[in-house]
């Protein structure tokens, strides 16, 4: 285990868990701001972390429609949680960001916008479904014909430490969407947690360089088999299914089906599903002006198709009913998204199921619509 040796890109190694703190220090020296899961006010959130000790060690999560609970377990693992309502979206596509500030200058207006300081984030613990969500948002915000400068500036600097999920939640259905639980690409480092070591696959030149001086071992056949076994087990554990074989046609050909109204009766139109969804990307712009009329500011904020003010235009809202808003959301995710971007807009993370206060389960609703249509 000579410390001057560096792992090859694509190789899989193991490190002692405390050595991960060396990696975090190395990232900070390189100017990165590490963000990871941590518990604050008894809630699981994504926020800046200083060291491994900030991670939710020994915790698991229990998730079901309308309910999220942190559970203290006897294990000592750091990454056994399944993420909560936060997603990496909030760092790449911030919920509130200033677009510009104008100041009156004689007869005209002067742009006095201060260039925003954009941190270089190191995302610690990105799940396979979340990587797929980032990829989907890349397609939206960094198109060849249009690029969102706010998103791009943040995205291009991100360092990603992904995590293979070995304990999926009850609301997870990534296997149905083909996104997980196994991480395959788009990472700098891919981590799998075993009881005694972290297993890392090196995915980039930068990650390789960051390993300088950090003691590691090549992953043995036994370790690799162990990782494989855990991931297979995770796949088998995932009971929730979403049949995508007849999507998007099932939805797009039955937009007038009475079943939509049945969902509308249960939906609160609160917008939570769209806000916790790691692929939803709608925003609104808000203008404000100072009392003296000399300063004007435009801000971009997260918006939602469930907002009664969304798509409000002359004559009113084009979707005046709750069911029509739900249908808009679901038919976009599982229908028109495909026409727009070539993939479905869902990665199977299950957030919209867990975080719906009315306990609406999108996998059950699609199955129910299918049954109703067949009748």
């Amino acid at each position: 285990m000579p410390s001057d040796r560096l792992p090859d890109i694509g190789s899989t190694i193991t490190i002692e868990k405390p050595a991960f703190n060396l990696l975090l220090s190395r990232l900070k020296e390189e100017g990165y701001l590490p963000i990871g899961p941590r518990i604050k006010n008894d809630s699981l959130i994504y926020e800046e972390i200083e060291s491994l000790e900030d991670l939710p060690r020994g915790y698991s999560t229990e998730q079901k429609p309308g309910s999220f609970r942190l559970v203290r377990e006897k294990h000592a693992r750091y990454f056994d949680i399944i993420p909560g309502s936060h997603s990496w979206k909030q760092f790449l596509f911030p919920s509130r960001v200033e677009l510009f500030t104008l100041r009156k200058n004689g007869k005209g207006w002067e742009n006095t916008t201060q260039p925003a300081e954009i941190p270089s984030y190191a995302f610690i613990g990105v799940r396979a479904c979340e990587l797929a969500a980032i990829q989907i948002q890349d397609n939206i915000f960094m198109r060849s014909d249009f690029t969102d400068p706010i998103y791009r500036a943040r995205r291009q600097r991100v360092f990603i430490v992904s995590v293979n999920c070995t304990h999926p939640a009850e609301t997870c259905f990534c296997t149905s969407m083909g996104t997980g639980p196994r991480v395959k690409e788009l990472f700098d480092l891919s981590l799998t947690e075993l009881d005694d070591v972290f297993v890392l696959t090196v995915g980039s030149q930068l990650a390789r360089r960051l390993m300088t001086g950090i003691p590691f071992d090549d992953a043995s056949g036994y370790i690799l088999t162990n990782v494989e076994h855990r991931l297979n087990h995770a796949e088998q554990q995932m009971r929730r299914r979403l049949d995508t074989s007849d999507l998007p046609e099932l939805i797009l050909e039955h937009l007038d089906h009475p079943y939509w109204n049945e969902i509308g009766k249960r939906c609160l139109s609160c917008a939570s599903c769209t806000q916790v969804c790691p692929t939803c990307f709608c925003w609104d712009t808000q203008d404000e002006m100072s009392l003296d009329g000399k300063t004007a500011k435009r801000t971009r904020v997260w918006d939602s198709c469930f907002n009664p003010g969304y798509s409000h235009q002359a004559g009113g809202n084009t979707r005046p009913t709750i069911y029509s808003r739900y249908r808009q959301w679901m038919s976009h995710k599982f229908g028109t998204w495909k026409q727009q971007y070539g993939t479905l807009g869902c990665v199977g993370c299950g957030r919209c199921i867990t975080w719906c206060p009315a306990e609406i389960d999108i996998t059950e609703e699609i199955a129910a619509l299918r049954n109703e249509v067949k009748r």
Binding site: G66, F68, S304, P357
Partner: protein, 264 residues
């Protein structure tokens, strides 16, 4: 921008003065506010008064006495624009709890000589008595919204006030939903945004002081909350609070109460 500063009057009816204090509490903006408008009548701030008519009347409080009915008509006659300020003025406030009970009974409990009181049986919002041009909800109002409305009036445009529920504000500030995360009853999904979702951010449920949101699914709200009640009648109590006299919240409680009775 108008060349002459608009004359503004601030009135108090039955209320706690908290909304007027929200104006005085603007601190950083207060000097700019005094520059932008002519504060002609504001007894909470100064006894100096300029005679009307006024361009804008900001009215705090609900109508609870016969004398207040007369006074609010004078306010209307004396102002071009009348803005109801805070949930007393828009929905009757906490004193509107008497609307669901007997005002006499309450008076007897509180006062040694209730016969000296002159009061109405109900506490009602300003708009039940005069035409109101705009309502700003909240207990108290959000000072940023007060400024937004004044700036909008100065610039002859519609104010930007959120049409959605509190949930969107929780998500924007990164507060995990207290219903899902903690099992805390919260009426945020049925409540109009504007406060910045301060209560859930402090780990408690929204109690609806900004009044009902648009397009509330009353059945679904009642169903969700009845399932998670920590004591019988909790849901009805949540809706019958500061904004309890607002029509949407009244509807929800009317739906729930018979069910509660049956459960007994």
């Amino acid at each position: 921008m108008t060349t002459k500063k608009p004359a503004v009057a601030v009135y108090k009816f039955s209320s706690c003065d908290g909304c007027q204090l929200s104006i005085l509490n603007m601190e950083d903006e207060l000097l700019n506010l005094a520059e932008a408008i002519d504060i002609a009548f504001f007894l909470e701030a100064t006894r100096a008064q300029k005679p009307g008519p006024y361009d804008i009347a900001l009215v705090e409080g609900s109508i609870t006495t016969p004398h207040e009915i007369e006074r609010i008509r004078e306010v209307r006659a004396n102002a071009k624009v009348v803005i109801a300020l805070g949930t007393c003025a828009t929905a009757g406030g906490i004193q509107a709890l008497r609307n669901f009970a007997s005002a006499e009974e309450y008076a007897k409990v509180v006062y040694a000589h209730p016969e000296y009181l002159h009061y109405l049986q109900t506490a009602t919002p300003i708009a039940e008595h005069i035409q109101v041009d705009m309502e700003l909800w909240g207990c108290p109002v959000n000072k940023a919204q007060v400024i937004e409305v004044i700036v909008a009036l100065l610039n002859n445009r519609r104010p930007n006030l959120p049409p959605h529920s509190v949930c969107l504000e929780c998500k924007r500030r990164g507060t995990p939903c207290v219903i899902v995360d903690k099992g805390i009853p919260c009426i945020g999904p049925a409540t109009q945004a504007g406060c910045g979702a301060i209560c859930p951010a402090m780990g408690r449920g929204c109690y609806g002081c900004f009044g009902p949101a648009r397009d509330v699914n009353t059945d679904a709200m009642a169903n969700m909350l009845l399932k998670m009640e920590r004591y019988p009648g909790e849901t009805a109590r949540l809706f019958r609070g500061i904004s309890g006299y607002a029509p949407t919240f009244r509807t929800i409680v009317d739906e729930i109460l018979p069910a509660n009775e049956e459960a007994k």
